[in-house]
Structure formats: structure tokens, C-alpha cells
């Protein structure tokens, strides 16, 4: 977590990681739509790569299932492909590739192959892109045996996570990015502090970072958030601390599948109260999974009924006013944590 300076944006962190991996490792390549410079991908995360590594940046036809599958074939033959999905919503065009091919190959073929690849997918709304370019669809791919799902937040080093997903993890990984987060600065801890906040991280390949306004001696609420919701959760925690003297620990896992529940349980030891938030809709989602597992693995820690905060059950509207009504906001989290 310390390699990237605190001033780096998520976009620069990801872009830098791809540059350094491609420079150091001939197996690494990038494949997806509209990647070539000067365009450099719809969100510019691929900028500069095709100029430096023209042979290893493959700009593709509009064929999400096709190029996700092509990358899998390359991974099975010794390459380390990174796939860029232009908008995360389009990931579902490759649903069959994920479900019936990529996630299954290793086990179904009796561990004779691996499919080490990363599929980067920018999710998230709040940019006025409307119903098919704003979703957070990752819940639809959670729980697929053989597929890992990783989601950086501002509390993580996105580039380091990308590197771990591509080079240290032999499983295929869907890497959930967040469009608004690209421009945000990564917050890295120094001496257990991020500014005024207290911070701690688990030491996994995909760490969970927990932050609090108190030095982890007491908490009122455990607020679990990932990806783009982490900043919103942190804002809610700040509001509640200064306006109402409530200590909300924000627990931010970077791996959604598999999910390390321990940091959540640790925080619940202090708070006894669980709120889980996500930017997608609630039904059969991440929050449902966390609450289910906490009920099974840490029921005695709960002093109150757990709560979920998520998008309302509508497509994401184009107009700002409707979009705001549909998406989970700071105020919703504040209310749920009280």
C-alpha cells in the first residue's frame, strides 16, 4: 500500500501499474475497445500504452463476449491479458464466457489449466449516463465458483491490486472500477493514520481497510462499503461523528469474491451494529451476502437488526434529479447508521 504516493489519482495508479507491468513482463497485454492512443480508452486508463507497446495493445471490434473469450484463450496459452470493458454494464454481454467458460476451465479440466486474466470493468453512476451506462452489475457475477471479484476504493492502492490480480492470482479476476473514482486521490495510511482518521488493513493479497474517527477502542456502527461507495460511506461517518458523536467504522474490502469476513466481525465486536451499502440494487446482492454470513458466523455480535442501503429498484435515470433519488446517498447512510 505504500508504493504509490498519497497524491496519486486512481486513474494514474491503474495506468502506471499497466505501464510497469507491460514493461517488465512480455506476457502482459491489454485488449478491449478503443484503446489506441491518442484516445486511450473511453476513460483514458489505457493512455500511452499503445504507443509504447503497439504489439500488445489490441483494440477490438465491438465484441465483448468475443474478446473476453479471446483473452481467456491467450491466458490458457501463457499470456497475462488485461481486458478493458468500456462500460461495466457491457460485462453482461460476456456473461456466458464468464459462467460457462472462464470460471469453469480450471476445475472442470481437472486443474490442468489456469486462466490468469483480469477483466477491468468501470461501474457506477452519478455522471448522467443513464440506464445502460451507469450500473453496478457486479452482484450478477458474485458467487460464480472459480471467478474472483476485486474492487479497489480510495482506501486502496488500485494499481497494486491490479498487479496482484494479474500476476499473483491464477484465477480469473473481474476488477470492478468506479468511474467517478478515477479522478479521486488514493488515500494511503501512514503510521496507522490517514489524515485525522485511524486506519488499519488486513495483510491479504486483497486487503480490507477499516477507518474510524476513534483509535479502534470503541465504535457505534460497522459500515461495510466497497468501490465507489467507500467515499460516500466516509462522508456519512464524518457527518455522524461531528454532528452526533457517533463513531462509525467504515470497513472497505477490496475482494468481494472471495470475501474475508474477519475485518467485519472484528469491527462488530466493537459496534454490534451492521450497515452494508452498495451502489447496485439490494436484491440478492453484496449486502445480502454479508448480512447472511454475519448472521451465520457472528450472530451473537449483533445487537440490532442489520441494514442494507442500496439503489432503489429502478433502472438508473438519465436526469440528475431522478438519478439522485434512485442511488444511495450520504443522507441514506446517515439515517441507516443512527
Amino acid at each position: 500500500m505504500s508504493s504509490t504516493p498519497a497524491t496519486t489519482t486512481v486513474l494514474k495508479s491503474l495506468n502506471g501499474a499497466m505501464h510497469s507491468m507491460m514493461e517488465a513482463d512480455e506476457r502482459v497485454l491489454l485488449i478491449g475497445e478503443d484503446l489506441l492512443d491518442p484516445y486511450g480508452g473511453a476513460f483514458k486508463v489505457a493512455r500511452g500504452l499503445s504507443e509504447r507497446f503497439p504489439e500488445r495493445v489490441l483494440t477490438t471490434p465491438i465484441s465483448e463476449a468475443g474478446f473476453v473469450g479471446v483473452a481467456a484463450g491467450m491466458a490458457m496459452r501463457g499470456m497475462r491479458p488485461i481486458v478493458e470493458i468500456m462500460f461495466g454494464d457491457f460485462l453482461m454481454l460476456a456473461a456466458d464466457q464468464l459462467l460457462n467458460h472462464i470460471s469453469k476451465y480450471r476445475w472442470m479440466y481437472n486443474d490442468q489449466v489456469h486462466v490468469p486474466m483480469v477483466i477491468r470493468a468501470p461501474m457506477g453512476a452519478r455522471r448522467g449516463y443513464g440506464p445502460t451506462h451507469s450500473q453496478s452489475v457486479e452482484k450478477h457475477i458474485l458467487g460464480m465458483p472459480g471467478l474472483h471479484v476485486v474492487a479497489p476504493s480510495v482506501l486502496h492502492d488500485a494499481g497494486a491490486l491490479l498487479r496482484a490480480a494479474l500476476l499473483d492470482d491464477l484465477s480469473p479476476v473481474v476488477f470492478v472500477e468506479n468511474k467517478l473514482m478515477y479522478a479521486r486521490r488514493q488515500l494511503s495510511a501512514e503510521g496507522g493514520r490517514i489524515g485525522e482518521l485511524y486506519a488499519r488493513s488486513s495483510s491479504d493479497r486483497y486487503p480490507t481497510t477499516t477507518v474510524s474517527w476513534e483509535p479502534f477502542d470503541h465504535a457505534d456502527v460497522t459500515l461495510v462499503a466497497y468501490g465507489g461507495m467507500v467515499e460516500i460511506a466516509m462522508e456519512a461517518a464524518e457527518t455522524l461523528f461531528f454532528d452526533e458523536e457517533l463513531v462509525v467504522e467504515v470497513v472497505a474490502p477490496s475482494s468481494l469474491q472471495p470475501l474475508d469476513l474477519q475485518p467485519v466481525l472484528d469491527s462488530l465486536q466493537r459496534s454490534g451494529k451492521l450497515v452494508v451499502c452498495e451502489e447496485g440494487t439490494a436484491g440478492a446482492g453484496f449486502g445480502a451476502e454479508v448480512i447472511s454470513r454475519v448472521s451465520a458466523e457472528g450472530f451473537s455480535l449483533l445487537k440490532a437488526a442489520p441494514k442494507r442501503v442500496a439503489a432503489r429498484d429502478y433502472p438508473i435515470a438519465n436526469t440528475r434529479s431522478l438519478e439522485d433519488m434512485i442511488l444511495p446517498q450520504v443522507a441514506d447512510l446517515v439515517r441507516a447508521c443512527r
Binding site: L58, F67, V70, A72, G73, M76
Partner: protein, 341 residues
């Protein structure tokens, strides 16, 4: 994928085929006979309740597998489909591993995890989603090209699979990036219960050409003719490092899977006259043919016997793989006998 250093010709059907010094026709007949008897035995075992689940036999199409796969060498890749027994038997020549897989044993090709629709053996793969593996095999061919290995990939699909959209995404990219991929369409004129006229608009071969891919077709069940035909095509794909799309017009003489054949009797009878094994048997003297049939019979029976003795997976095999057994001693002596014949 890590492999033992000395693998011999385990993934090199061409070397094995060329090392067998018998006449071409004799070799082709024996390979086809092995496929035929293996599957007939399989269907019997299903009938007797010894096998469980389903299977898709290749009876009538054997000439395709021997015509294509005997040209593939070490490092070349095959991606096949649900109807893969023939492809596997020519590529791997390990009937006992396939039989054990179909019997669900831990020493089967993939330890009972996949069944015959989902196997992996060296550079041979299958999957049961029609057309879904086309991007994978395209990516494999692209990787081989980028590595400069000279290896090629071959995909086997059926006529019905021409309806699958992702196939065309793959063909487009295969052509754009000029990958060494041969797509073999085995047009057996039916997709499950649906005749080709009800599933396919337009023409098969022009589907390949539309992407700027060399494409052709051959209407034959003559193994020798197919062997010659694909020898040239495969050499071209390898040397020129670009894709090719070839349709074989053939016919399936068995059920789609098991007991699900409702095709018109007279149509089946018409095609039965062209079935590959009758023609191929006539290449040989009756004595030669009988000797081969006896050896194939013994091999299939040995595979059945061996498979029956193999253990079923236990809970630990959810996470643990059993090493692939060495080829059956029986097979070595069978091959020796073949060289004497």
C-alpha cells in the same frame, strides 16, 4: 500449463501416425474402427444401465476426425464440442481414459469432473456450450502466433452451431488478426432434432468468406480423400499463419444423444450406404480387416475392464487431482501386433 519434460508423442498425433509403418488406408481404417466400436460399446453400456448421464456419438462421421487430426503435431491445439469422442480418440489414442471418464472414475481424462463434453488432455479441449469456445480457441491461436511457436489451432463445430452469434465475433477477430486457426464445420445435416433447412439461412461456406477467410467445402465420407484434403489446408494454415474455414458435408448415423432419433428412416438408410467404414473396409482384404477388428475389439474391452476397476472420486478429489495413469500395457502389445500385421 506444466507438463512433464519427456512426454514423447503423447500430444503429437501426426508423429504417431507417421511412425506406424502400415499403409495409410490400413491405419485410417483401424482408427475409425476404434471410434466406431468404442461408441457402440458405450451405447450398450448405457443400455445396460452401467453408464449414467448422456453421450453424443460420432457414428457416421469418423472419417472427419482421422482426415483432420492425423495432421496435427506437438503443440497444435484442438477445441472440440459435445460430439468429441472421435476427435479425442484420434488425438490422444487413450480409449481407457475416455471410458473411465464416461464411467465417472477418478482416473478418467478429467477425473470425472467434466464428462466427455468437458475434457482436457494435453492440447485437446472440449466444451458443451455450442460455439461458446470459439473466442477461447481464437485467443489460443493468437497467443501461439504472438509467441512465434508455429503451432496452429483447430476448432470443430457442427452445422447447428452456425446459429451462435459469438462464433461470428470470433471469426471476425481471427481474420482481423490473422490467426492460425482452422475451423472445421461438420455438417451432419441435423442439430439435435432440427434439420439444417430449418436452422440455417444462406450458405455455409460464404459465412467464412464474408470475413475474408479462405473457405471451402468437401462432401465426402472417404477418409483417404479427407486426409489428403486437410493435409493441404493444414499445411497452409501453418505456413501462412492465417485462418481457414472448411465445411465437411457428412451425416450422423446414430442418435443425437441416446434414444432421441426421430429422423426419417429412408433418409438414414440413404446415408448409411456412404458410411465411412464400409468403404474403408473394402480397401483391405477380409483377413486384414478381421485382424484389425479383433484388435480393436480387444482394446475396447480392455478399456471397459480397466475402467470398471478404477475408483470413483472421493471428497478429497473435489480439490485434488489424481495423476494421469500411464498407457495400458495392453495397448503397447496391441500396437506391436499391428506392426507385424
Amino acid at each position: 500449463m506444466s507438463q512433464p519434460a519427456d512426454r514423447g508423442d503423447i500430444a503429437n498425433p501426426r508423429a504417431r501416425f507417421e511412425r506406424d509403418g502400415r499403409p495409410l488406408r490400413t491405419k485410417l481404417f483401424e482408427q475409425m474402427m476404434l471410434i466406431r466400436r468404442f461408441e457402440e460399446r458405450l451405447l450398450e453400456l448405457f443400455g445396460e444401465g452401467e453408464l449414467f448421464g448422456t453421450t453424443h456419438c460420432y457414428i457416421g462421421q469418423e472419417a472427419d476426425a482421422v482426415g483432420v487430426i492425423n495432421h496435427l503435431q506437438d503443440g497444435d491445439i484442438i477445441f472440440s464440442n459435445h460430439r468429441c469422442h472421435g476427435h479425442f480418440l484420434v488425438y490422444g489414442d487413450r480409449p481407457e481414459l475416455l471410458m473411465a471418464e464416461l464411467m465417472g472414475r477418478v482416473t478418467g481424462v478429467v477425473g470425472g469432473r467434466g464428462g466427455s463434453q468437458h475434457i482436457c488432455f494435453e492440447n485437446f479441449y472440449t466444451n458443451g456450450i455450442q460455439g461458446g469456445f470459439m473466442p477461447t480457441v481464437t485467443g489460443m491461436a493468437l497467443a501461439e502466433k504472438m509467441k512465434g511457436s508455429g503451432n496452429i489451432a483447430v476448432a470443430f463445430i457442427g452445422d447447428g452451431t452456425l446459429g451462435q452469434g459469438v462464433l461470428y465475433e470470433a471469426l471476425n477477430m481471427a481474420s482481423l488478426w490473422s490467426v492460425p486457426l482452422l475451423v472445421v464445420v461438420e455438417n451432419n445435416r441435423w442439430a439435435q432434432s432440427t434439420p439444417v433447412e430449418r436452422e440455417l439461412a444462406g450458405d455455409m461456406v460464404t459465412r467464412g468468406r464474408a470475413f475474408g477467410i479462405d473457405a471451402g467445402e468437401i462432401d465426402s465420407t472417404d477418409a483417404e480423400a479427407l486426409y489428403g484434403h486437410f493435409g493441404e489446408i493444414i499445411a497452409k494454415v501453418r505456413n501462412e499463419q492465417r485462418p481457414h474455414f472448411e465445411v465437411i458435408h457428412t451425416y450422423r448415423l446414430c442418435h443425437h444423444s441416446k434414444s432421441d432419433d426421430m429422423r426419417p428412416e429412408d433418409e438414414i438408410e440413404r446415408f448409411r450406404k456412404n458410411e465411412p467404414l464400409i468403404g474403408a473396409r473394402a480397401w483391405l482384404t477380409d483377413d486384414e480387416a478381421r485382424a484389425i477388428e479383433a484388435r480393436v475389439e480387444a482394446r475396447v474391452e480392455a478399456a471397459v475392464r480397466w475402467s470398471r476397476e478404477q475408483p470413483f472420486p472421493t471428497p478429497r478429489h473435489l480439490d485434488e487431482r489424481v495423476a494421469r495413469p500411464a498407457p495400458m500395457a495392453f495397448e503397447a502389445s496391441a500396437t506391436d501386433a499391428g506392426e507385424d500385421a
